[in-house]
């Protein structure tokens, strides 16, 4: 056991910073520093810039066309990108379905989607949850019936983020309605296939990222089955477990706290800084401490040796505290906004002229409340925190 930082990792951080300075367009960074959802076009543009550098597949091994970076470097990369205001890459593609396809998919599937994901040319929607199967995925009821060389899909998915701009959807379906988890398969569906209908769901932040997706006799070729029939559950668990060290969303928490610290240090109209008020300083110190604790638990998870992973369900631990911290940072941001927390600043969706119609307020106000309300979902998505606590109790504490 030792805690000496790898010098080469520090050099890597400098290299990432220099790259971001030279290659991240200012308009992209400006939009992403606010709390609104990133624009599809920004994500595409940024993914292409990264891909030219060979860096879009930060979490992919070299033989998939990725960077082959260690988990620690992926983490440093995420940290620097978010601090600089870069948009994310398509999480569903790079971190979810991509690794599943590249690990379990057919050769043809890998050839078809791997390079397109890396270049930002295909964007994915995740079809897991259903109206009657939220955290309890095992009870999903969307079904795929095999008819000749096709599956016929019927059912309904919900909370499918950004699917309105996606080309493809990966869905968990029942191929054997009698079996519970063993009857689940993963199938790729073209968003524009006949029978796919999308209904937007507006979240309480008055922005749109969530959707409901209806499947009515949607026909897809059997070659769109990922891996084997009945293994969908295994693949879903694989993609969640794969990212366990990242489940605290530490870089996001870090960037949000840094932004909050900046606001608290600004001189208000009365010449005072909010940080000079004991309540703000004390809450900020507590959030900073929470952030540091989360950082060091994340670092431990990142340094787990392949094959030597501890039994500790660290992904669940990190998910619980990381999601809570995003909300707590948001709460202090609301406090800091004061009266400007009450104004609606509509999402300009990339149209800068709309920003001119915004209500008065400090430059940092727009976007904060949208983000604050949206973040109520953090403790729900990815398996509600209560479900995570049950996982910890059962799997590790053996209760």
């Amino acid at each position: 056991m030792h805690f000496i930082l790898d010098q080469e990792d520090e050099h890597f951080r400098q290299e990432v910073r220099a790259f971001l300075k030279g290659n991240l367009p200012a308009d992209l960074a400006g939009r992403n520093r606010r709390g609104y959802h990133p624009l599809r076009e920004d994500i595409r543009q940024w993914t292409k810039i990264l891909n030219r550098q060979g860096w879009s597949g930060a979490n992919w091994p070299k033989h998939w066309g990725g960077t082959g970076w260690s988990p620690v470097r992926q983490f440093i990369f995420d940290e620097e990108c978010i601090l600089a205001g870069a948009p994310p890459v398509d999480t569903a593609g790079f971190k979810m379905i991509g690794p599943v396809i590249m690990t379990f998919g057919s050769e043809a599937m890998k050839q078809e989607y791997g390079p397109r994901i890396l270049n930002g040319d295909v964007y994915w929607g995740q079809g897991f949850s259903e109206p009657n199967a939220g955290s309890d995925l095992g009870s999903l009821s969307t079904r795929a019936d095999r008819v000749g060389d096709e599956y016929v899909i019927n059912g309904r998915k919900i909370w499918t983020s950004f699917v309105e701009t996606a080309e493809m959807i990966f869905v968990l379906v029942k191929t054997d309605p009698e079996a519970r988890q063993r009857g689940i398969s993963m199938i790729l569906v073209d968003r524009e296939a006949p029978g796919v209908t999308i209904r937007p769901i507006h979240d309480i932040g008055e922005s749109h990222s969530l959707n409901e997706v209806f499947f009515d006799d949607v026909r897809v070729p059997v070659t769109n089955l990922v891996g084997e029939e009945g293994k969908g559950w295994t693949y879903a668990k694989f993609l969640l477990e794969n990212e366990r060290a990242f489940s605290a969303e530490w870089p996001r928490n870090n960037a949000n706290l840094a932004r909050l610290r900046k606001f608290l240090n600004l001189k208000q109209a009365d010449g005072q800084r909010l940080i000079d008020r004991p309540g703000f300083a004390s809450r900020l110190a507590q959030l900073e401490t929470d952030l540091l604790a989360l950082r060091w638990l994340t670092l431990r998870a990142l340094h787990e040796k392949a094959g030597g992973q501890s039994r500790l369900p660290v992904g669940s631990l990190l998910k619980i505290r990381g999601s809570e911290l995003l909300q707590k940072i948001g709460e202090l941001q609301v406090e800091a906004l004061g009266c400007y927390a009450s104004y609606v600043y509509p999402d300009p969706l990339g149209d800068a002229t709309l920003e001119e119609t915004w209500a008065p307020g400090p430059d940092y106000a727009p976007g904060i409340m949208a983000d604050y309300f949206y973040r109520r979902a953090t403790t729900i998505y990815g398996g509600a925190n209560e479900v995570q606590r049950t996982i910890i109790a059962r799997s590790f504490l053996e209760l």
Binding site: F3, K262, L284, A285, L292, A293, R295, R300
Partner: protein, 380 residues
């Protein structure tokens, strides 16, 4: 970075665990507590195992190990609730002595490693509350190179068995000045030293010490007059990390004892462990334990960093661990129910130890205040 123990570290952990469980476990300690929470045969064994001089440089007869190894020992001490003064002597006093860089410290350290002398630091004062520079004890110059010490030192752990006191006193300056603090070696039997031995709430023993015109000379001075704060800070930083490590051991054991109890105790016709509210509480306790372990790692990583970063890391670690430890050990009592508050049963003693770990060297509240002050003075 590597979060796994290497072979030597695993061996050290194993041997310390065996020693602690065989000699210092809760069910064996009653007679030791009655004797002032010190057992000379245990102490000699710790010397023989190389534990007393674990972090002392080889030139003074120690093992020259790092704070990581010291933390491993402290975790084991926490697990069994060992009441013997390893922390006070082998960490706090030893590290302060090393940092004085005074030739007089060398033979003392050699004797300390062998278990032949018990020096302790008499620094804490009632109003300090974690502020290391708060020294009101006065060293008033009298004729020549001699001083008279006057003041009151509180909760000097192992003062009851100490053979030598390292007393901090002001040779100049006002109560919070960083300059003007000097360290003196004082014989506890010297005229003017009045010692009140007190049993602490966690069953360790300490002394409340009054100094009335205690005469010291240049021969008693450690380091340079007026420049003692640096050595104190070093000793206290190392001792803070050690306390954090002990807390992790305390929390971990407290959690697993509670888990085991939930698997045997039945109420309402079912095992306590089958109640989801209790399962979720246990999960929260595990999260706090593992975050605390993360903070221990952060604290350890900061020891070779600059003073500002070290101060931030140690305050963050101490603040977080104090809070988490209170939660974990408090909920351990809660989940046990009535048996948890009985003196006879072990679980309440984890809570008591955690209470004192929190208050030692600045409580959680003090360290949050420090962090808040740093936030205010930093330019974002």
């Amino acid at each position: 970075m590597d979060f796994q123990l290497n072979e030597e570290q695993s061996m050290l952990q194993d041997s310390v665990r065996r020693f602690m469980e065989d000699n210092c476990a809760f069910d064996k300690r009653a007679s030791v507590v009655d004797k002032g929470s010190f057992d000379s045969s245990h102490w000699q064994q710790m010397a023989d195992l190389g534990l007393l001089g674990l972090t002392v440089p080889e030139e003074f007869g120690g093992m020259n190990c790092s704070a990581v190894e010291s933390a491993l020992v402290m975790e084991e001490i926490g697990r069994v609730l060992c009441v013997e003064p390893y922390w006070a002597v082998a960490v706090l006093a030893a590290q302060t002595l090393i940092a004085t860089r005074d030739a007089k410290a060398a033979p003392l350290l050699q004797a300390l490693c062998l278990g032949e002398v018990l020096p302790v630091l008499a620094h804490e004062e009632a109003e300090a509350r974690g502020n290391t520079a708060r020294v009101q004890t006065r060293a008033t110059a009298i004729a020549g190179d001699r001083w008279h010490l006057n003041g009151e030192k509180v909760a000097v752990v192992a003062g009851n068995v100490a053979e030598l006191l390292i007393v901090s006193a002001r040779t100049s300056g006002n109560q919070d000045d960083e300059q003007g603090i000097s360290l003196f070696l004082v014989d506890p039997k010297a005229p003017g030293v009045e010692r009140r031995d007190v049993r602490l709430i966690d069953n360790r023993w300490a002394s409340h010490i009054y100094l009335h015109d205690v005469e010291v000379s240049q021969k008693n001075l450690l380091g340079v007059a007026g420049l003692g704060l640096a050595a104190l800070r070093h000793g206290i930083e190392q001792a803070t990390v050690a306390l954090c490590a002990e807390a992790v051991g305390v929390m971990e054991r407290s959690l697993w004892i509670t888990r085991d109890y939930l698997k045997i105790r039945k109420q309402f016709g079912q095992l306590l462990g089958d109640f989801q509210s209790l399962q979720h509480r246990m999960s929260e306790m595990l999260i706090e334990l593992e975050l605390s372990r993360g903070m221990l790692h952060y604290a350890l990583s900061s020891l070779d960093k600059g003073s500002a970063e070290r101060a931030r890391a140690l305050s963050a670690a101490k603040a977080h661990i104090g809070k988490s430890g209170h939660f974990v050990c408090g909920q351990s009592i809660q989940l046990h129910g009535g048996i948890g508050v009985t003196e006879e049963y072990v679980i309440g003693h984890y809570f008591k130890r955690m209470t004192l770990i929190n208050s030692a060297l600045g409580s959680s509240m003090h360290h949050f205040e420090q962090l808040a002050a740093q936030e205010r003075s930093a330019v974002a």
